[in-house]
Symmetry: D2
């Protein structure tokens, strides 16, 4: 193996806004939990970096596929004052990329394969959680790794996967063997790189939303990757009517391929009216807010709940938004409804279940609308600032 490799890296200047103060987990000039308050003048470079070595409990993985995520776009995008859009945990310079699949090269000391509880042999096909939960803080000890108090994030504050090799803790790797059997080698890596975003949707609708009982109706607001993946997951969970609200026709088409029974174009028809019509006045058991526009969509959700006869609806809020959600308490009372927030994809058996679901036929390939090379990554990260046509753009190595 050569000693250096090309990597897509993001640089930015540590230039905190006046109101910023170093938080408990921030490190001066290096890392912050409030990216958009600190980092300025982001710039992506493809440069040569040394191939890393796995330390204790770590594994060296050769990357085979890595998708571009909206957060990659927002880290590399500056606002009017030059600050990055992305508001969360970041430490630059950093190699971007976290929706990855690859092959294990070698494990460091004490790195065990979760499949066998033995050291890695090399050659294992794997995908990867983006969140490096610590496994030791109180939330991790209590079983809530998505809320780890000592979190690292691959491609955000530790080097990620838009490159040839990446070093990762053994505990965040998951075997892709089931996908190889169903789809063959060619597609297994592609699908493997979509396990992470699909797990974000799965965590939202199954772990946090409680899933559905077969025969229930669901409504998904927004056809970004999480909303699209939620169509597939909820259809598989037994939803009778999977209804998605999404104005962009290309995404509507993907939604239909992934399992949506009905697509509502909210620019052309009233969302609540159509939901009540499709469901014979019942409304839905689960609503996924995946638009980031709560002031626009929540009143429509609320009308579905209030006018529909379905009790016990759950609204899952997965998209981040600055605006408040305008909630009418009486709707929650009269319809026995609830609102839950969702973040992350780790824990709760989510990754292995997503892989098993894909292996059993939940084919997410329609979501991958374009594949590119490593050299093409920066320009596509820039392109996605405006583009609403592509769903998932994936870098294939080799």
């Amino acid at each position: 193996m050569s000693e250096t490799m090309k990597a897509v890296r993001l640089y930015a200047d540590w230039d905190p806004k006046p109101d910023f103060r170093l938080g408990a987990k921030d490190i001066d000039k290096k890392q912050t939990y409030l990216g958009s308050k600190v980092w300025r003048n982001p710039i992506m470079k493809i440069e040569d970096v040394p191939v890393p070595k796995p330390g204790p409990g770590q594994v060296l993985v050769e990357v085979r596929a890595c998708g571009i995520c909206g957060s990659d776009v927002h880290m590399a995008q500056a606002d009017d004052q030059g600050y990055i859009w992305y508001p969360g945990l970041t430490g630059f310079p950093c190699t971007l990329g976290h929706e990855m699949s690859g092959v294990v090269v070698e494990g460091g000391p004490g790195a065990l394969d979760k499949n066998t509880n033995k050291p890695f042999k090399g050659g294992e096909w794997v995908c990867v959680e983006e969140m490096i939960w610590c496994g030791s803080c109180q939330p991790c000890a209590d079983g809530w790794p998505n809320h780890c108090e000592r979190l690292d994030e691959i491609g955000f504050n530790v080097d990620g996967a838009f490159t040839r090799y990446v070093v990762l803790p053994a505990r965040v790797l998951w075997s892709l063997d089931p996908l190889r059997e169903t789809y063959g080698d060619q597609d297994a890596f592609k699908l493997g790189s979509m396990v992470e975003p699909t797990s974000v949707a799965y965590n939202a609708v199954i772990e946090r939303g409680g899933g559905v009982r077969p025969g229930d109706n669901v409504v998904i607001l927004g056809g970004g990757p999480v909303g699209l993946a939620a169509c597939a997951v909820l259809k598989r969970n037994g939803a009778s009517n999977v209804i998605i609200s999404e104005p962009e026709e290309s995404r509507a088409e993907i939604a239909r391929k992934l399992g949506a029974d009905h697509v509502i174009n909210p620019q052309k028809e009233g969302m609540a009216d159509r939901v009540l019509e499709i469901t014979r006045g019942m409304g839905a058991s689960l609503y996924l807010e995946a638009t980031g526009l709560p002031t626009v969509v929540y009143p429509e959700i609320e009308r579905c709940i209030w006018e529909g006869r379905t009790l016990n609806s759950t609204v899952v809020v997965v998209a981040r938004a600055d605006a408040k959600i305008p909630v009418t308490g009486e709707v929650l009372q009269v319809r026995r409804a609830r609102i839950v927030g969702s973040q992350g994809h780790s824990g709760h058996g989510t990754f292995p279940r997503v892989i098993a679901s894909m292996a059993a036929g939940m084919n997410m390939l329609p979501m991958m609308t374009k594949t590119i090379t490593l050299e093409e990554v920066p320009k596509h990260i820039e392109m996605l600032r405006a583009d609403r046509h592509e769903a998932k753009i994936t870098c294939l190595m080799d």
Copy 2:
């Protein structure tokens, strides 16, 4: 038994506002689900009415105690235009009163005692659900009687208990025998009349809120009867710190007697600051919104959740309010929190468990701050428009 009896009855004029339309369950000039849009010029009278006879499945009960509820106050209170305050199901004229206990006189044809599945013998001590769920509509069939689609309500659209005798369906009666053993006859009727409001609190925090695990902290906003009862229920459920926010000192004192460990006076100290201090920065697992002032209290609740380290908090909204709750989605996401609405007190084994809890020592008598006669009921219903000093005023018959 004499053939007539005195009853506290409410009269009002059917005078719908211009925007009102008869709903599916409304009956012209007689009954509506939107009381404050229809009824005008409410007036209470004590008058002689015939003693009723129990029909099929019904029971004649002699009333022994009946508490005044806030909804009694709001039904009899007019706004500037003369419309009643109470916004819900109402049919006038109607005998008021629903927080009752009493003794069975006789059962009508087919009326069975839930305790024995046999006809009533007469002499059974009972308390009563206020909601006459039908047991046959889809919500009732599915197990959600608090959301019955054919609901009647005792003391709202069917004659209630501020009188000597009342006729009720057998299925909404619950035996007070366990209270007689623990408290003796004298207090059993008093406590029996508080089973209904305590069940509203129990349904909110246990059935809807999911209760607590022993060692959790809870925060209750508002020391009305529901908030006070919630103190007792959650302390009994194992909460380590029961914290209530209530400015009125007389109610704070009752809260302490019922199990509150800490009382915050929100007019003198910051609610969120105190909660975080009391809980060593952890915040609480359950928040009960029982003030009806969501714009005031929800931001404080949100700060407790955001700054506290407790994950999986539940906010239970039990008080009705016109104002929207200003919800920050990110707080629900980062702290894995949820908001649920709660209404009613029926089903889910709530009434018998409240009775069993009282029998085992959950003494609610401190909540009953005053007892009165039937003749005194109207003036006390009027007095409670302004009074914040009394907690529960109860009419004792005999």
Copy 3:
């Protein structure tokens, strides 16, 4: 409508065994909860009976399809001493048949359509719960209608559906409109008659078993109607591997059509070995015991749990059996597993969800292996004593 109709009726002699005593809900010479201890010399007759009239809250339904259930067989089958095999609630003479669909003729006084909360118009297509839960006893009030303390059962102690007309309480009817839209009129009645047995399976695996998360494995023991229906329900709920153990090839074939991914012939291969092989050593999340042979199958289930790595497995026991289940506590401890019992099909939104699932594509028609006329019912009830080839035999009227 003519004034009499042909009906398949079961007669037997009230001849209690020496150890039998009238229970609380038994009626001397008429009805018992312990059929096999009381009824002797069963005989089926087709005879003319009067067309019934609906009383208060009741509906007259014209039967269109009615399936034969195993309990029909056991009621009409005598053991060596002449006592009927069926051990449960029975009152003879009684018209048999409870897995029915039909058309509403007219409603009695106060009978409301759950769909509209208004009186029936006549012409509604419906299917029917077999259990006439009372809606008023404590289990019903608490939300557990499958455990009603005042239960009647259609075709067991009240007249059933192997005839032209049947009278039923409005609250146990469910609309078949969704099936008409998907399948057309011809198949809607057939499918409608299978809602009840499918709901028994749904109640077992979804309501009692908790369902699965997409990606989980399940194992079903026994390919009778409940086991077969469970294949369809669990596949729809997202199970990756639906594995059924069933020796009879004709039933195996139906299982495959309904969604089973793997069929194990327990007479030819080790059940536990195959399950562990199919699941790569993981075992399953849910096991449905639908054989009635716990001493045979439970040790195999236990081996799957013990040797498989899956935690939190649920064993649902739906088949009745006299033999004890030999449970090793340590298996439940080490694998965090549990055992639950399941009975009934009512409540919990099960019927409407089964109908919605069928309407959305869960086609149960492969289970209906034969259709017959009313005259052919008795001989097929007798034939099924020995036959293991047919799955569901259904009587179609006209």
Copy 4:
């Protein structure tokens, strides 16, 4: 600090029975998951051992109190053939003792305090989980640390706490600060050493058993430390009637002090009869099997469930036993009941909630019937082979 310290250590010979084979996690001549099949001729010694040093992520703790557990007794006790009684994970020689509290001396590299997410300062008062779950295997990643596939156990296969100093991973320590405030320094260490056994009971009845709703009844079979602690936990959770079955009067007395409302002596009265009498024929919502004698007690539990009217009962099996549990499926079906197994005490927020409950008044001191010095530990471990009088014997260091 002196360089050596006295320790109570257990020696035994590695002498596997003929049918024993090294398992996946066994290490030849050193460690096995099947202690009673391998280790022979156990002998306890008090000897001088070096004071250990904390490695990466580890903490050196000075022991202040450590209770004797039944497993200590069984590790040091030989059967007729000389093999130890204890059947589980063991690696000898090993310093015994795991129910401990103490004070942090210093942390090794990277060892963070869960309270602060910062390095230990020294001087922190802590108690300790006995199970060193790895935080990295699939069960740990999924949130089930009690089922860790790479488990170590303090005082079983890694050196324990019957000594002056012990080295532990930081992630299994929990702060005792709340106990100091409530009880003062003297009792905080005593109570701290009882957090682990109380957590075993808490995990059984709250995490696995689902706890109770206030007003429910519970029955605990067996007054060993887990059964006794369960009395306190369930009373605190709101059980109306806490009923324990225990023949030994000294333990009955402790049970009463900890919250039991009724003690049944199963040698003098029928358990099921008394439970049905106490509960007015209802039976209980939760049964804890803590005797290890399922063939004796399960039929009694089953009678309570069958004859009682309570639905949805849970039987929690926490005691280990070789004998099968003779389960009647129909009882689980007719009463909607379930059986769950429970092991461990880690995860799910159990330790901090037990500490918070103790701090809020759940005083477990009545369980500590005797305190001893380190030198007295071996003879008391031997004494407990026969003694049923003492509940918890605790070694106090000072």
